[in-house]
């Protein structure tokens, strides 16, 4: 038995109709992403290109590399190293504090985890400025922490907790912690708990199962969290400026000084360009590194 079909050359059956449907789909994609594309171009690409352009001119308006050569002075190199030191220290502390929290969140029953998650995210709902001033109140010489330590007799002199590196790191850790916990938690939540049972069944003690199965599988989330935290630290301005008390010369505070004190836009631009290039390089490197754990999951 044969079924009768309208005689058409098979190669062109509905050809133009499908072609049109495809191009309509393409147009709607472009149309929907256009506003965002325009916005990015207007407020990001154009200003930054202009900044990069500015950095190539000296104070007299002549094309020169002076702005970049100046960055080789010891003060700037020291500031550059300080920035990395602070970012590294803050990230390391965030890992030590955040990993157990993320682990706890991932293992708790749904309801308890949601409740605890509120405490992790709560700082996000408060302005960084408010939180930083709050730390100032807590940490200063006459602050609550020093008073308590003095009255309990643990110390005889107030500890210098603020307007220095210590205060800067404490404040930054507080701000950055959620950025580390959230991607880490997401990765841990994706680890099938049956894998830990399987490890136990193979003969692994809880500690071995954690080290050999859970930890490696959480590394992709950990490296994402580290990259996010570290990169945010590199460009962080508010907390170092307030809690550092001018004594912690981060790259970002240098940029602000360059504009606010010296109105040297060219030099400030050069600083920004260096920060952006370094940050981009780190992200690119981490992204390449992260391909490896991705392949572990079999998700291509």
């Amino acid at each position: 038995m044969t079924v009768m079909v309208q005689e058409v050359k098979p190669a062109i059956l509905n050809n133009s109709l499908l072609q049109r449907s495809r191009s309509l789909q393409g147009i709607s994609f472009v149309g929907l992403s256009l506003p965002a594309a325009v916005l990015v171009a207007a407020v990001l690409i154009i200003p930054f290109s202009w900044l990069a352009w500015l950095s190539l001119f000296d104070a007299a308006g002549n094309l020169s590399a002076e702005n970049y050569v100046r960055l080789l002075r010891p003060a700037y190199i020291e500031s550059f190293l300080t920035t990395f030191k602070v970012a590294g220290l803050v990230t390391a502390i965030c890992v030590l504090l955040g990993y157990p929290v993320a682990y706890l969140l991932s293992q708790l029953p749904q309801r308890a985890a949601q409740l605890l998650m509120v405490f992790v995210i709560l700082p996000f709902w408060t302005s960084v400025l408010v939180r930083t001033y709050a730390w100032l109140v807590l940490l200063q010489r006459q602050g609550i922490i020093n008073q308590w330590l003095l009255s309990s007799g643990l110390i005889s002199e107030p500890l210098p907790l603020v307007h220095n590196m210590t205060g800067t790191v404490i404040g930054m850790v507080h701000v950055m912690l959620p950025f580390l916990i959230l991607p880490l938690y997401a990765a841990m939540k994706a680890i099938d708990p049956v894998l830990l049972r399987a490890a136990a069944n193979c003969g692994a003690s809880p500690a071995q199962a954690f080290r050999q199965v859970f930890l490696p599988l959480s590394l992709s989330g950990l490296s994402a969290g580290i990259a996010l935290t570290f990169v945010l630290c590199l460009g962080f301005y508010l907390t170092p400026a307030l809690l550092g008390g001018g004594r912690v010369a981060m790259w970002s505070t240098q940029i602000a000084d360059m504009v606010a004190k010296f109105a040297n836009w060219g030099a400030a631009s050069a600083l920004s360009v260096v920060l952006l290039v370094v940050t981009g390089g780190i992200l690119w490197g981490v992204n390449r590194f992260m391909r490896v754990p991705d392949a572990w999951g079999g998700k291509r």
Partner: protein, 354 residues
């Protein structure tokens, strides 16, 4: 050293008001292939998890080779287990997955290599030892999970619906392979499934579970042919039930006395006659066999046969296969039909055992 005998006594486990295990007692012999069969919620997986050590029961005893296991942590039980979704480690390749139990036991590298290769050969996966888990198909993952469970030569192998994620053909193929593997290695195997066909094909004995209790524990043949209650009978095959009335010492179907080859074991009151398509006959002896009369409702072509549905008095429905070798013409819908059951094939069950 024992050989893999498991004795379960009075194991209870409740989740709030829900009794997952309601006093299970069960002996599993060394080398036996025992299947825990039951619908979801019957407690079969909970029982397996109690044996593996992932669930701690509220009370009861679990003896493995005369040693109390009930409080022993799972990593000290030395039981192989194949998980439902395989639970292979995605950050290790096939070889490392299978080698993991051996590495934990501190075995030297040369022995590990030899034994992992051996286990992978057993499951026909030796050529894919360097593959990532993400690169394997479902059937291949299944084999790797099996290799990981047997590589350290446990005396007892636990399997939690290991074939449920595979398609039908592969599942049937793997059933045969698992059966042969069990015959070769001879380890005690506890197999959990809700698939009666799988249980019948593979097991030495089947424990049918319902609501946390063992309803019947017997060989596949006895479970199928001589179920001890309506629940077990309904779980096996394409079973239909016809109500029968008990009068003195005999059972009556539509006022005709039933001829039975054996007395129903657990049925003191009215019961049910089990009717399965393959047990019904197109012809019979009015002096010897039981006759069932009805009207043809519809006929469905099944490839190997036609399935003829027959409606009986009292709104009951049974069905019978027509393969073409019966010497009877295929009936047409609406036609009156007489079907026959031999006394041997006529089994009456009660509602439930107490």
């Amino acid at each position: 050293m024992g050989a893999g005998k498991v004795s379960i006594r009075h194991v209870h486990k409740a989740y709030g008001a829900f009794k997952a295990l309601d006093g299970i007692s069960l002996d599993i012999q060394p080398g036996e292939f025992l299947t825990l069969l039951g619908p979801s919620g019957s407690g079969k997986t909970t029982l397996l998890n109690v044996i593996a050590g992932f669930e701690r029961p509220d009370s009861g005893s679990l003896m493995v080779d005369e040693v109390e296991f009930i409080t022993r942590p799972p990593h000290k039980r030395d039981l192989g287990m194949v998980f439902q979704n395989y639970a292979l480690f995605p950050h290790m390749d096939v070889f490392d997955n299978v080698a993991y139990p051996l590495k934990l036991r501190g075995i030297d590298r040369a022995s590990i290599r030899r034994r992992v290769t051996g286990a992978l050969e057993t499951v026909h996966m030796d050529k894919l030892a360097a593959r990532r888990i993400g690169e394997l198909s479902g059937g291949q993952r299944q084999r790797v999970a099996l290799a990981r469970a047997i590589v350290f030569e446990p005396k007892i192998l636990l399997m939690d619906e290991p074939l449920s994620a595979l398609d039908k053909n592969l599942r049937e193929h793997m059933q045969m392979e698992l059966k042969r593997l069990h015959n070769r290695l001879g380890m005690t195997t506890v197999y959990v499934t809700h698939d009666q066909q799988e249980a019948l094909t593979m097991s030495d004995r089947i424990a049918v579970l319902d609501r946390g209790r063992v309803i019947q524990l017997d060989t596949p043949q006895n479970i199928y042919d001589h179920p001890n209650c309506k629940f077990v009978a309904g779980f096996m095959g394409e079973t239909r039930f016809l109500p029968v009335e008990r009068r003195e010492s005999s059972y009556h179907l539509d006022d005709r006395s039933l001829r039975l080859a054996s007395e129903p074991p657990h049925c003191d009151a009215n019961g049910w006659l089990i009717v399965r398509p393959e047990r019904l006959r197109w012809a019979g002896d009015a002096q010897r066999d039981n006759r069932i009369a009805g009207k043809v409702m519809d006929i469905v072509y099944r490839g190997d046969s036609h399935l003829v549905s027959v409606s009986l008095a009292g709104d009951h429905e049974i069905s019978i296969r027509h393969t073409g070798s019966e010497g009877k013409e295929l009936p047409v819908p609406g036609q009156d039909l007489e079907l026959w059951l031999t006394p041997e094939a006529s089994v009456v069950v009660g509602d439930a055992i107490q």
